[in-house]
């Protein structure tokens, strides 16, 4: 470190670029996202290849979050829950592991020193993907188009637009339409900013605590970040689920298209979903 005190805490709000391939600049948070995906893919591949009816320990550990979120979606999702449960579970697992990746030792500490504005700055190779606004905004865009897509699929283009933009007494529509439009778009901002803000603030908190008291005390904050990473992943997944349910709106007046069975959307893993009731969710 060049000097003591203030510059000991060095956090950058944007991800540091590592190298560029043609016009594409690869940042360390992109590496983090790829690492997260690889972990999930490898675990899923390994477990599904040797999955048995009586699950092994690893298989139980992998099936547990899937069943848990699946039960929550089943309890609140109405008749079409099977079509969007995979999306909710995937978002939960991806965000969860992206958050927790930043807590591993070595992530954010192994890197190269680079000169920047005359001072030496450590550029880590891997950065937690969700500590980068690009990642969270990308996920929020996926969630945004997903709920629009599910709404259109359930109600048709006309039905979805009518349900979203036409107010109940029809003469209120000119006033309510801009409000609805803003509220739909603000979901994009609040989803991405919430995750980014939490994870980034967590990194700043950890860096500050490590600089103030290097021993013992940061362990408590690491535990806190473990909980926060989990809660934020859950919040992102559950908000996506809620938006999809609101867009499908099968509890409202047009309940025509709901009895066609939507099992064909289901990828067909986890065969033992029917057992546990919603009461086990907590």
């Amino acid at each position: 470190m060049p000097d003591e005190g203030g510059s000991l805490i060095h956090v950058r709000i944007d991800a540091e670029p590592l190298f560029s391939v043609g016009p594409l600049t690869v940042t360390n948070s992109m590496v983090g996202a790829v690492v997260t995906s690889l972990i999930l893919l490898l675990v899923a591949w390994y477990v599904t290849r040797r999955s048995t009816l009586v699950p092994s320990r690893l298989q139980t550990a992998v099936e547990f979050p899937i069943e848990w979120i699946g039960n929550i979606v089943e309890g609140t999702g109405g008749t079409r829950w099977r079509s969007f449960a995979p999306l909710v579970i995937s978002i939960f697992l991806f965000v969860l592991f992206a958050n927790w990746l930043g807590l591993l030792p070595g992530v954010g500490t192994i890197g190269l020193f680079e000169q920047e504005h005359g001072e030496q700055v450590l550029v880590p190779f891997v950065r937690s993907a969700s500590a980068d606004l690009n990642f969270t905004l990308g996920l929020a865009i996926v969630s945004f188009f997903a709920f629009i897509g599910f709404g259109v699929k359930a109600n048709g283009v006309k039905g979805y637009l009518k349900h979203t933009f036409v107010a109940n007494p029809a003469y209120m529509t000119p006033i309510m339409t801009p409000i609805h439009l803003i509220s739909e778009l603000s979901r994009l901002i609040s989803l991405s900013m919430r995750l980014f803000g939490n994870v980034f603030a967590g990194e700043v908190l950890l860096a500050t605590m490590l600089a103030l008291v290097p021993l013992i005390v940061p362990i408590a904050f690491l535990g806190l970040e473990l909980v926060f990473g989990f809660v934020q992943a859950l919040v992102f997944a559950l908000l996506t689920m809620t938006y999809v349910i609101l867009a499908i709106a099968e509890n409202e007046q047009h309940g025509t298209a709901e009895l066609e069975d939507s099992t064909h959307d289901h990828p067909g893993d986890e065969p033992d979903r029917h057992a546990a009731p919603q009461g086990t969710a907590a």
């Binding site: 609040s190 919430r194 559950l238």
Partner: protein
Amino acid sequence: MDLTPLAAGLAMGLGAIGPGIGLGIAVSKAMEALGRNPEASGAIFVPYILGIALAEAIGIYALVVSLIILFT
């Protein structure tokens, strides 16, 4: 004199008051409901998490504003 750090601190500190009160109310009510009816924990859980997330978003907006003040 550079007042930027003060502005960032004030934005975060003042912006955390409202969400703090809101979160306190939400958690206290959820605990109250849980105490009255422990079997309802499953039904309370999802709305509770969603409500907390929505209240907390306001605090996160303050954080984002103060980060923007600080880093730009």
